[in-house]
C-alpha cells in the first residue's frame, strides 16, 4: 500500500501535483458529486431522526395512537428509523459505486507516479 519510496527526479514536486489535481475540473466534479449527495442526505436523516425524538418528547398522544392490535405509532415510527437507515445506507453504497469510485480510481491512476513525501509520519 505504502508509496514511501521517492521516484527519481520528479518533474514537479508532489505538493504541486496535488494542488494541480485539486484545481482540476475532474476533481472539482468529484467533490461536487460527493458533497451533493452526503450533505443533503445527512441533513435529511438528521431532521427525520430529530422529528422522531421531538415527537417522542412532546407528542405522546399521537405516538400512543394504536394502529392495529397493540402496535402503536411510536413503534412504527421507531421501526421506520431502522428502515430509513438501511435504505440510506443502500442508496449511498449504490451512489458511491457508480458515481464516486470510477472517478476516484481514474484520478488516483493519473496521480500514480507521483512521489509522496510524507511530511508528518502518519
Amino acid at each position: 500500500m505504502s508509496t514511501d519510496t521517492p521516484a527519481s527526479a520528479p518533474a514537479e514536486s508532489a505538493a504541486e501535483r496535488y494542488l494541480a489535481v485539486q484545481r482540476s475540473d475532474e476533481f472539482a466534479g468529484l467533490r461536487r458529486a460527493l458533497r451533493g449527495f452526503v450533505f443533503p442526505m445527512t441533513v435529511a436523516f438528521f431532521l427525520w431522526y430529530a422529528l422522531y425524538v421531538i415527537l417522542s418528547a412532546y407528542a405522546r398522544g399521537f405516538m400512543g395512537t394504536k394502529l392495529f392490535g397493540n402496535i402503536n405509532v411510536a413503534l412504527v415510527f421507531g421501526l421506520l428509523q431502522f428502515v430509513s437507515t438501511f435504505v440510506i445506507a443502500w442508496l449511498y453504497a449504490r451512489f458511491a459505486d457508480r458515481r464516486i469510485d470510477p472517478v476516484a480510481d481514474r484520478i488516483r491512476a493519473e496521480l500514480g507516479e507521483v512521489t509522496h513525501e510524507h511530511g508528518p509520519r502518519g
Binding site: 431522526y49 418528547a57 402496535i71 411510536a74 445506507a89 449511498y92 458511491a96 496521480l111
Partner: protein, 556 residues
C-alpha cells in the same frame, strides 16, 4: 411466571456450565491471540491488523466492538423495565452509523494511518493537535472502559448466582467482583499486548458471532411462545408491567412528565440532549475510528460499515423481542429483585425460556449459562478494543510524534504501545476497583458526549473546511471535551440525586444528565472561533489531504 435467577436446584449446574463455557471462550481467544502475535511483525500489523481484513470481517468486528454490555444487557434491561424508552436508545445507536458511513469512514481510511489524530494533524502543526487528540482519545476510552469493567464486576455476582452470605471458590460476592475486574483487565491486556489489532479483531469477530447467535435463538423462542404474533407479545408485556399502554409508549424513563412544569421541561430537554449525543457520538469514538484502518481500501471501509449497519440494526431489532419478552415472561419484579438497573433481564429471560422449551430446570440452567458466558465474552471484546485505541494513541500520537518528534523507529513505537496497554490496563483495573461501589453507568453516555462534542467537530472541520487550522482543532477538542466533562460533573448524575455517583453530596447546578445539547454546539463553536483567531493556513497540505481523502491516492 417469574423465575428466580439460578434457582437453587439449577444453581450449581448453571454456575459450572457458565464457567466452563467462559473458559472455552478464553482458551479459544487466547489461542487466536498467540497465533495473531506470530503474524504481527510491523507497526501496521500491530495497529491495523496488517490492513488485511475483509469488509465483512471488519463489519463483524465493528459489531463486536460496538455492541457492548451496555447495549446487550443494558438496552434489553431498559426495555424490560421501562418499555418503549429502551428502544429509543437503540435507535440513536443505529442511526449514528449514517454519520460514520456518509461523512467519516472512507475519508478517514484514505488519509489516515493508525489513529484518529493522523487525520486531524494532517495539515496542522503536529505537537499541539496530536497532544489534544491523545488526551481526548484516552479520556473517552478510559470513561468507557471503567463503565464496562465495573459493570463486569457487578454482573459476575449476579450471573454466577453468588448471593450475600454465600461463597464461590471461597470468595464472597465482593471478593468475586474484585477478582472479576482483575481477570477481565488481565485478559484485555494480554489480547492487546500479545495479539495487537489482529488478535483483538478476531476476539471481536468471535464475540459478535456468539452474541448474534444467542440473541437470534432467544428471539425465536420468545416469538415462538407468542406464535410469532408481535401484538400479543407487546400486549402481554404491557399487562405484566402493570403500566398498561404507557409501557408501549415513550415517557416512562426519558422525558418523564411530572406535576412540576420546570422538572418536566428539563426532563424533556434531557431526552433531546441524549438523542443528539447518541447520534453524533459514534463517529467520534476513537476505538470505532481505528477499525476503519484494518481494511485495505476505502471501498472495503464502506463495505464494513454497511455490514456493521446490517448486523447492529438486526441486533437492536432482536433486543426489542428480548426486552419485551423479559417484561412478559420474567416480569419486572423478578428482574429488579436481581438488579435494580435491569441488567440481568436478558440472562433471566434465557433461564425462563430454557425452562419452557428445553426441558425444565436443566434446560433453564443451560440457556442461562450460555447467555451469561456470551455476556462476559461481550465485555472482553469491547474492553480490548478500548485498550488498543488508547494505547495506540499514546504510542503513535504522544510518544512517536510529540515526544520523539516523529523520529522513533517502528520497533520502539510498537514497544511503547505494548507498555502503554499494560499501564492503561493496570490503571483501569485500579480505578475500577475503587469505583465499583459507585454508580458509573453514566460514563458510557459521557464518553459519547465527549466524542460528539470534541472529536466529531475536529474531524468534520478537518475533512471539509478549507480554512480550518491548528488553533481551531485544539480549541474544538479541548473546548468540547471540557464542556462535556464539566457539565456532567455539575449534573445530577454525579451529585445531588439518589441515583448519583455521590448520592450523599450535592454540588450540582446543571439540570440535565446529558450535556450534549449544550456541549456539542459549544465544541463546533470553539472550533470555528479557534480557527478564525489564527491566520495559519497550509494550502498545499490541504490540497494533499483533500485529494488523498477523496481518491485514496497515496493511501497507506
Amino acid at each position: 411466571m417469574s423465575t428466580v435467577l439460578a434457582a437453587e436446584a439449577g444453581s450449581t449446574t448453571a454456575r459450572n456450565l457458565t464457567i466452563t463455557l467462559f473458559l472455552i471462550f478464553v482458551a479459544i481467544t487466547l489461542a487466536i491471540t498467540v497465533w495473531a502475535s506470530r503474524q504481527t511483525k510491523t507497526a501496521t500489523d500491530f495497529y491495523a491488523g496488517g490492513r488485511s481484513f475483509s469488509g465483512f470481517q471488519n463489519g463483524m468486528a465493528i459489531g463486536g466492538d460496538y455492541m457492548s454490555a451496555a447495549s446487550f444487557l443494558g438496552i434489553a434491561g431498559l426495555i424490560a423495565l421501562y418499555g418503549y424508552d429502551g428502544f429509543l436508545y437503540s435507535i440513536g445507536f443505529l442511526v449514528a452509523w449514517l454519520v460514520a458511513l456518509l461523512l467519516v469512514a472512507e475519508l478517514l481510511r484514505n488519509s489516515g494511518r493508525y489513529t484518529m489524530a493522523d487525520v486531524l494533524a494532517f495539515r496542522m502543526r503536529q505537537r499541539p493537535v496530536r497532544t489534544a487528540a491523545s488526551v481526548s482519545t484516552i479520556t473517552v476510552s478510559i470513561f468507557y472502559l471503567l463503565a464496562q469493567m465495573v459493570g463486569a464486576g457487578a454482573l459476575v455476582a449476579l450471573l454466577l448466582g453468588i448471593k450475600p452470605g454465600t461463597t464461590f471458590l471461597g470468595m464472597d460476592a465482593d471478593t468475586a467482583k474484585v477478582a472479576t475486574i482483575i481477570l477481565v483487565g488481565a485478559l484485555m491486556i494480554i489480547y492487546v499486548t500479545v495479539g495487537g489489532m489482529k488478535g483483538t479483531t478476531y476476539v471481536q469477530i468471535v464475540k459478535a458471532f456468539l452474541l448474534m447467535s444467542g440473541a437470534i435463538v432467544m428471539t425465536l423462542l420468545v416469538l415462538a411462545h407468542y406464535k410469532f404474533n408481535l401484538s400479543t407479545l407487546l400486549g402481554d408485556a404491557a399487562n405484566a408491567s402493570g403500566k398498561g399502554d404507557n409501557f408501549l409508549e415513550p415517557g416512562l424513563r426519558y422525558g418523564v412528565e411530572s406535576g412540576d412544569a420546570l422538572k418536566t421541561f428539563y426532563s424533556k430537554m434531557d431526552l433531546l440532549s441524549l438523542g443528539i449525543a447518541l447520534v453524533l457520538g459514534t463517529a467520534g469514538l476513537p476505538h470505532i475510528l481505528i477499525r476503519f484502518y484494518t481494511v485495505p481500501t476505502a471501498k472495503a471501509a464502506r463495505k464494513s460499515v454497511l455490514w456493521a449497519i446490517g448486523i447492529i440494526g438486526t441486533f437492536y431489532l432482536l433486543t426489542l423481542a428480548l426486552g419485551f419478552g423479559a417484561a412478559a415472561l420474567v416480569g419486572s419484579q423478578a428482574i429488579t429483585a436481581q438488579d435494580k438497573a435491569g441488567n440481568t433481564a436478558a440472562p433471566q429471560l434465557a433461564e425462563a425460556l430454557g425452562i419452557k422449551f428445553l426441558g425444565g430446570d436443566l434446560g433453564g440452567a443451560t440457556l442461562l449459562a450460555i447467555i451469561a458466558a456470551v455476556a462476559f465474552a461481550t465485555i472482553l471484546a469491547v474492553v480490548a478494543g478500548l485498550t488498543l485505541a488508547s494505547s495506540s494513541s499514546l504510542a503513535h500520537d504522544f510518544y512517536a510524534n510529540v515526544i520523539k518528534d516523529g523520529q522513533a523507529s517502528e520497533r520502539q513505537e510498537v514497544n511503547v504501545a505494548r507498555i502503554s496497554a499494560l499501564v492503561i490496563g493496570a490503571i483501569s483495573i485500579v480505578l475500577s476497583i475503587f469505583a465499583q461501589s459507585l454508580n458509573v453507568a453514566f460514563l458510557v453516555a459521557l464518553a459519547f458526549a465527549v466524542a460528539a462534542s470534541g472529536n466529531l467537530p475536529a474531524i468534520l472541520y478537518s475533512l471539509f473546511w478549507r480554512r480550518f487550522n491548528t488553533s481551531g482543532a485544539v480549541w474544538a477538542i479541548y473546548g468540547g471535551l471540557l464542556a462535556a466533562v464539566v457539565l456532567v460533573f455539575f449534573s445530577p448524575v454525579v451529585s445531588g440525586a439518589p441515583t448519583a455517583m455521590f448520592p450523599d453530596h450535592d454540588w450540582h447546578w446543571f439540570p440535565l444528565s446529558n450535556p450534549g445539547i449544550i456541549s456539542i454546539p459549544f465544541g463546533f463553536l470553539c472550533g470555528w472561533i479557534g480557527t478564525l483567531v489564527s491566520r495559519e493556513h497550509d494550502e498545499e497540505k490541504y490540497a494533499e489531504l483533500e485529494v488523498r481523502s477523496l481518491t485514496g491516492a497515496g493511501a497507506h
